[in-house]
Structures are given as structure tokens and as C-alpha cells.
Point group: C2
Chain length 220, copies 2
DNA sequence: ATACAATATGACCGAGTAGTCATGTGACCA
DNA sequence: TGGTCACATGACTACTCGGTCATATTGTAT
């Protein structure tokens, strides 16, 4: 948490520092963000920075806290329309609220998102060919399936392909999460706890979701 | 691409360098990964590194290529049983192969995935609570929905929550990519890509898939 | 043995970094 | 007026970084 001296600053100076910091983080990512750059662009002395914050991490966490504060404030008044509402309606509502928030809200939130998205985009650039080839394969597959009448005509093949690809790619992530990954496991480099039975169930579940969706079928 | 000198190296030295590099990238993320650290830990001279690789990017791309090679090698022998088969059967085959690969995945692949999924362990630590809270929220939501009979009883809430969360989280990036939004646009803080009609359709589609699945409904 | 090319090496460079600290400044109180 | 205290400052230290290059060490062909 920032030191008291930071909160003693005039509001506009606090905001200025936050803005500059946010730009720096957004532009260069967390790891490469430079405090020297921040103080220079904010027009404060290096020493002052260290009277406000412990270090870079402290500053960044402050920004994150600001965003979550803002978010909570934003969502406070508008509770989900009805707690007893249908799950899918609820999901849709969450989406729309999230979009509205993202669209309406401050530079602060936009910038923090930019840190996350920006790095994603950067990485995306790196693997453009590989990813496009992969994505293309899935799209074609889905298109063929659509022509053959295997999949629903309401679904855009591109979106469907994305869904399939994303879930397929995240299988590894799911496994890692399930075992609360630790450095130890990473070094060990093998995953042998997973029985084929468990594996089968996970795959079954994922495929079921993709094929039939989550909604309970009312008909036989 | 690495220079010829690298490939002239003894196999085990190549592997050693790759291992060390992978650790560095996995541990500190792409931006903060240090070549000085890598050469030091690999026990080679700084100058040698630059006789093997152009720069950090070159090294990283080499690792990525290794991963894709590995993947291709893994999937090479096992072609889909029958090209004319039902789409979902085909999908099942792919998922099983994908799962096997994910379960057997090498340190190499793990590390690269880690870098891609969010700048290494560090970022992961930072947002750990937030992400866990989010995941927890989804699981509870799905459990309630299951109890209320909104969602299908065949689906394990944990897997469903993971699927929902994964798809929703990566949807933003997908929309960005679909509209070919550049990093500059993001930097400017424009949000028109979010509010566009296309974005809305993508969201609708994704929600549809989650609710009803991909398979064409024969009834109704 | 000799010559030659390929590779290995680490001291070195310039640039940039995080973080410190002695000194300066201004506001408030006695 | 003088004293006190919170804050501001930027030169400074002690790094690490990516990258270069003259030199040393190999391996190979003659």
C-alpha cells in the first residue's frame, strides 16, 4: 500500500501520477515498466516517488486496487435484475454489464485492461502464422460440419471454431489448475496422478458442453 | 532463426541452453527475461550467445518452434480415424489426443504456455486472489444453476465453470483479433471495437454455444 | 608442422535501472 | 524570529542490461 504521504498529495497530483504510471504499465508491460520514466513524465523527483510508494509492485497494486474499487462502486447499485433468474439470463446480464462498464469507464480501467490485452496482442503478433494456420484449420473443419448439417446453422463457424480451439488449448491449463501447480511439479515435468478414467470424464464433459450446451434439455 | 553455429553445437549443449532459457522465460516472463542470466546459468560466454542467436526474440522464437515441432511429432502418427465421420466424433478424437498431449506435456511446452498465458508466474501471483475469487464465483454460480435445474445434470459444475470462464476471458482478445484492432488503437483508449455490431454478434453467438451447444437440433 | 577457418571467450562499453540520502524548501507554531 | 517537522529534490551509488570485439582456443586439411 502507498505511504501516507501519497494520500496527503493534492487529488490532481495523485491522479496525474496514476495516469502516467498507467500509461507506462500499459505501454511496456509490468516487467519492463520503468520508475525512472514514470517520475520523469510525471514531473516529480525520484526521491519523491519513494516517499509515496515502496516500489514498483506497491504502485501497481495501488492501481489494481483503484480499478477494483471503481468496479465495485459501479456495480454496487445495479445488482443482477433478479437473484432467482435463469442462469443464462444471468450470464447475459453479466456480459452486458461488463461491456457497459468497459465502454463507459475511466482511463484507469482501460489502461489496466490494456496491460493484460496488450501483452496478449503482443504475443499474438509473435505467433501470427502458427495461430492463423491453426485457426484456419478449425474454421474449415467447422464449415464442413456446417455444410454437412452436423452443427447448428445459428452458429457462426468462426466463433464456433474459436470456442473449440480455446477449449482444446486450455486443456493443459485445466490440468495444471486442477493440481494446484507448484514449482515442484513444473520441475518434475510429469503428470502421472491423472488416471485415464478422470481424463476421460473431463474430456467427456467438455465435449458434452460443446455439443449440447449447458442448458438442461426438457425434451427426451 | 538461430545461426548455424547453434545447430553445430553438441545436442546436449543445445538442450542445456534451451532448458535454461525456458526456465528464465517461464520464471520472469518474456520482457524481463535476461540474457545475462541465461548465459551465466548455462555456463557459456556472453559472446557465444550472440554467435548462436541474433537476440532474445530469436531465442524465444526458437523455443516456440521447438514446441510446435514437438506437437506435430506427437500428432503425426495418429490421424483422425475417418475423414467422413461425424464432426463430434472427430472432435472427440482430437480432444483425446490433445488431452494426452497436455498430460504428457514437456517442460518446454509448459513454460511457453505459461509465458503466453500471462507473463510468467509473477503476474499469476499478483492476480491470484482475483482469479481464484472469479473462478470460485463461477463454480458457485454453476452449482446453484445445477441445483435449480437450469443446467444439464450430465455436466460437472467444475468443468462447466472452467469452460465458461475460459471462453469468456478469451472472448475479448478474440473480438480484438477479429476486428484487427492494433495496439495503437488500444493505446489511444478507443472502445468502438467493443460497442460495434460485430462484437455484439460474437457475444450472442458465444452465449448461444454455451447454452445450446454446437449440434444441430433435430427437434423443436 | 603449418596454415586457416570456425568457434569460444570475457573484458569492456554505453545506456538504463532501482533505490539512497544530504540538502533544500515551505508551512505552521511558539 | 526562530524552531520544528513534513515533504521535495536530484546528484549519486551500485548495480544489470544488451551487445561488441580483439584475442585465444580449437579442429581440420595440407
Amino acid at each position: 500500500m502507498p505511504k501516507q504521504t501519497f494520500f496527503n498529495l493534492p487529488e490532481d497530483k495523485q491522479r496525474l501520477i496514476e495516469e502516467v504510471a498507467v500509461d507506462e504499465f500499459a505501454g511496456r508491460g509490468y516487467a519492463a515498466a520503468s520508475i525512472s520514466q514514470i517520475v520523469s513524465r510525471a514531473g516529480i523527483a525520484k526521491g519523491s516517488f519513494y516517499q509515496y510508494f515502496e516500489d514498483k509492485h506497491d504502485l501497481f497494486m495501488h492501481l489494481v486496487n483503484r480499478v477494483t474499487e471503481e468496479k465495485h462502486a459501479y456495480f454496487k447499485d445495479c445488482r443482477p435484475p433478479d437473484p432467482g433468474i435463469d442462469f443464462f439470463a444471468n450470464l447475459r446480464w453479466m456480459f452486458e454489464a461488463g461491456f457497459a462498464y468497459a465502454a463507459a469507464q475511466s482511463r484507469l480501467n482501460q489502461a489496466v485492461s490494456r496491460v493484460l490485452f496488450g501483452e496478449g496482442l503482443f504475443m499474438g503478433e509473435m505467433f501470427k502464422e502458427a495461430r492463423q494456420a491453426s485457426a484456419q484449420m478449425f474454421v474449415e473443419m467447422l464449415q464442413q460440419a456446417a455444410e454437412r448439417g452436423d452443427i447448428d446453422a445459428n452458429v457462426d463457424p468462426t466463433v464456433a471454431a474459436f470456442a473449440v480451439e480455446t477449449l482444446l488449448n486450455s486443456l493443459g491449463l485445466f490440468i495444471l489448475n486442477q493440481q494446484a501447480v507448484s514449482q515442484e511439479v513444473l520441475q518434475q515435468g510429469r503428470i502421472d496422478w491423472l488416471t485415464s478414467e478422470q481424463a476421460r470424464q473431463i474430456v467427456d464433459n467438455m465435449l458434452f458442453v460443446l455439443e449440447h450446451g449447458l442448458r438442461k434439455k426438457t425434451d427426451g
